[in-house]
Symmetry: D2
Subunit: 350 residues, 4 copies
């Protein structure tokens, strides 16, 4: 089978690097085009990127020349890892030009006709594509987005509970890794021996994205899930892996065993379709009271599984627990990649 | 004025070291006796302690010989910084022998006749002493305790709100410094690049101590404050300073301005009495949205002030905010010291 | 091919865990016996070990019961990861009982009849085994050791230069990872935001082991290599990977190109024999001036390669450069495992 | 006594912040003018600076408006904390305009007529000022510099030995704090769990500055000290305090006692003149084998003392030891401030 050519917008950033790493041996996709900011144009990828991953830059990519961030000459499938302000400008251009834009940016996530998707949770929302103006031309471009790195692990943990017991309230306090801020991102003088109790716009994103993700497709729009939600976002001196202390109240009361059982038996379309990047088990419940921990657990399921632990009674809501997921894999590049795989399986990427 | 002789039980540990540091130039108290585990007996303090503070060991203490942890020969005022299991055994022995035991241990905190005190919050609870059996002998010993390092900053921030608006529910998620676990305490292999979402018994302590501290003296007992409470405790790679993400619901609704105003004008008996270790302002509200932060703010008020910031609406309860306090100063040695100063001012230390 | 049964002494420690991890899918060896301290005896491995690696405990090992650390019932091939004082007592007992003891401990490394081996460097030294008294009984046990975690990366980098140009002087300053101190090992309060310029006995080990490793087999003894040597050992807040700043003086002068060429073309018996754990390239020279770095490079060659970089003129000796190797893989468990593979290839493990 | 007005160029950076902190209560100097980059002009200091110190911004400075970085309107005494490229342009402009420029930048340090001074070591070098063309006009401006943060601690430790025993060779391996790179400086993704074995131009600076500092004033020029010197510079995850592993060879052989005695009795002009920022003891020798350590020792002498420890025989040169000094106090702002105090004492600041 010939692999599908894909391009990466924002290829030199931390999420761009993860795209390249995850696509190196991908069975369906092949990176043939990389673009970054204008000043990088024409340089080789290895020169332009400050590679921050433990594996080496794939040889083929290392030598690739960086293209200008324009649709001309770009392949028809584009993974976008752009800063929000730039994404807001460029993503529509690429969709307009007929590209399938699979975006990790927050720019268009909350736009009514743009699906915000976690394949295990709301894969059906991709139907919104059919109503996009870009799609309804001869060029047939579109945009699909994945959620913020702090929302995705949480929503994977909440989805099976919402389906079985209906959420009534959710409180989330995050302890987020520095890689979530990109590179150079968080200055070492800011985070060594420190906690920063603030990440700009992050709480708002977590709240609104969670409700859109758990919402219901209603014709050409999404009815957001209705429950009270509050997030508090902190940055900690961890490289990879967002840890979250969660409390929830359920409409239908459930026992600890029932909750853990929902997590453990949770699988969905990506698992049934055997999408290449789908983790065997999207939510892993760990028994040890002090797990999950980012240093030891964020790579579970090749970084695509969400780990959950410490389920116990909450004195204010019903239950509390800890959620962990890898913020640049499941929370960014891997999220977009799984979206692309779902789109491919559903013939959106001809 | 001749200084009062005081002794330190558990003098070589992290909290013991803070006691020695804070007492070095104290106007009222003078350390004349130090004790640690039996195997240290007879060694000099400098030899026996693995000193982990930035200031040097005071010369007088460095040369002091460690005594056995027995009341014979000990001064009548004892600061106790013992592990809980040992405290449960030794503190009553010292009280029995006529000592004023001012304890940082959790062993007796929840015992009905033992006051658990933050001088700015519930100084009147020291009246419980009068009902202690140790007190009601010719020897007149007693035990007073201070709360857990994770509870004290929280309660200082809650107290003015509870008084003005009455708490209905409190959710706390902590990010606690490693010094809270003593020495050697947390292994570096456990915490570098990591978050540990579990501290044994910590959540229970935070919950029950908060309600006792905010409770009401009713004759010879304390009626705990009645509100829903839930804590989730995490350890992070920070040396000093516990940061907490808090959400609260109030019975009497209040605006942000009213809340901040209560924090800012909060002072109490220790300030009025000008106790030597009392911070001028027990609760400091910081305007910058990303403060307080442990690296920059935990030493405010010489480590005795609680910093609060980021007050904003909560989507589940009413308000959320961040609390920070120094865990081995205000959260341990400084807490006990301020208790001692209050007791002295009230003539409990002859 | 039936796999050879092997046992692990000190199986619950950090190096013991690495043995179990590296042996999980080993083509020649199978872990059938694990032992730790007496108080662990009879417990399952999963209960007794505080597993500190990112991969999970292999299922088979997790359920294995810990045996007493005695030769009775142990397999004939033993990997030993014991503290030195215990090793000094137990390793001879196992050799006496007929075991091939492949040790990572320092206890017997400098004993005249015990080979201290890096297979790429001095594999011929294993001939010392034939003179061991344990070997010359009907039971045929023996002991082989590998060097200290700080010596092995250095010696891999020095060996090709010593062979080609003859070392005259070596200065090494190390920045060592905390995992080198075992678990719980370095307290977080000691190392966060800190450097500790001292590791007990480490400098002496580096110096004498380097000279034995680069020495010459002369009948039944090793003539140590003769050159001036000095080491300064520091601990830094890194989890895995010892970084070293090295300066050398050569007897035969060499250009930078000649030195780099010796590193790049360096391969030896383990590569020719295709030993399963041998890295394709034992020494990797990196061109970027700021490499190698532990966070990004210590896993090269599955943690079995030594990375070198920054070769430049030294104003005191001839050349200076940086060396990095993984301290618990190439520097401990992987070192012993490669020794075992060499012994197997040479028919020392019947 | 009326305080002398001083200005700070580069006032918002990390070193600029230290200047402001150290000058807050200075008995001789008062900050009346602050300047930073053009885009900050006109904003208040508190708005423009991202303050990264534990003490608060002094009130007076917080409200001060940032001036343009031009001599017009600036006071006659200027502390300069500029990036090297900007310093090369601006410092001569200010000297030309009649200012005493007391610079922490590397731009002019090696210029033949610019003194590079550590008051305890080579205060006599300030005589070079008299030959500066800026000085020999009616305006009487001049430039004085202090060394790089990695050189100053080393040179303080070397100076008494060089005087007593004459250095023949010096090898230095540094482990430098992130604050040395300014703000935002080192990205957290680069340094968490890592060592970076490279700092651009740092080794060259250490080498040539050390020799100029220990050199001899010969009329209108400095004859650099003549000894072999080599430096290797590493960055580590420490906030403040450069730790260095040093080896030296002496022309006149000395015992450990003699060396330690030279360090301990080392005082110089700043101590005799009782300059306000001079540490009582410029070099502190610590007996514990594992000291000095940055976390515990870099504030000794209010950050102005150099700590030395671990003196032991070196197998290649004669002696090895560890040096530590605070890189933004003694290594930057404090260095310049002590230079200013010396100049004031010698009537160079009228």
């Amino acid at each position: 089978m010939k692999k599908l050519s894909v391009g990466i917008l924002g290829a030199t950033g931390i999420v761009g690097q993860r795209f390249i790493q995850m696509l190196e041996h991908h069975p369906w996709f092949e990176v043939t085009w990389v673009a970054a900011s204008d000043r990088s144009e024409g340089r080789s990828y290895a020169e332009a990127a400050r590679w921050r991953l433990k594996t080496s830059i794939p040889d083929a990519t290392a030598k690739m020349k960086l293209s200008a961030a324009r649709p001309e000459g770009a392949p028809k499938v584009i993974f976008a890892a752009l800063d929000s302000a730039i994404a807001r400008e460029l993503e529509p251009q690429f969709a307009e030009a007929g590209c399938a834009v699979i975006s990790n940016s927050s720019a268009l996530r909350m736009q009514a006709d743009v699906p915000l998707v976690i394949p295990e949770v709301n894969g059906d929302h991709i139907a919104l594509i059919d109503g996009q103006s870009w799609r309804n031309t001869s060029k047939k471009g579109f945009v699909v987005t994945n959620p913020n790195c702090s929302a995705i692990g949480l929503v994977l943990a909440l989805a099976p509970l919402h389906r079985a017991f209906t959420l009534d309230a959710v409180m989330a306090v995050t302890m987020q890794a520095v890689s979530g801020a990109g590179y150079p991102g968080v200055a070492s003088l800011d985070i060594l021996a420190n906690v920063i109790p603030y990440i700009a716009s992050e709480e708002e994103k977590m709240q609104e994205e969670t409700q859109k993700l758990l919402g219901t497709l209603n014709g050409s729009r999404i009815d957001p899930a209705v429950f009270a939600m509050s997030a508090q976002c902190n940055r900690v001196a961890v490289e990879d892996g967002h840890t979250e202390s969660i409390s929830i109240r359920l409409k239908k009361k459930a026992s600890a065993e029932e909750i853990i059982s929902e997590w453990r038996r949770f699988t969905a379309e990506p698992q049934r379709l055997r999408l290449p990047s789908a983790p065997e088990q999207p939510v892993i419940y760990m028994e040890a009271p002090d797990r999950p921990q980012p240093r030891f657990d964020c790579d579970k399921g090749n970084g695509m599984a969400t780990s959950v632990g410490g389920l116990r009674k909450c004195g204010v809501l019903d239950w509390k627990f800890t959620v962990l997921s890898h913020n640049t894999i499941r929370g960014a590049a891997g999220a977009a990649l799984l979206n692309a795989e779902l789109l491919k399986a559903k013939a959106y990427l001809e």
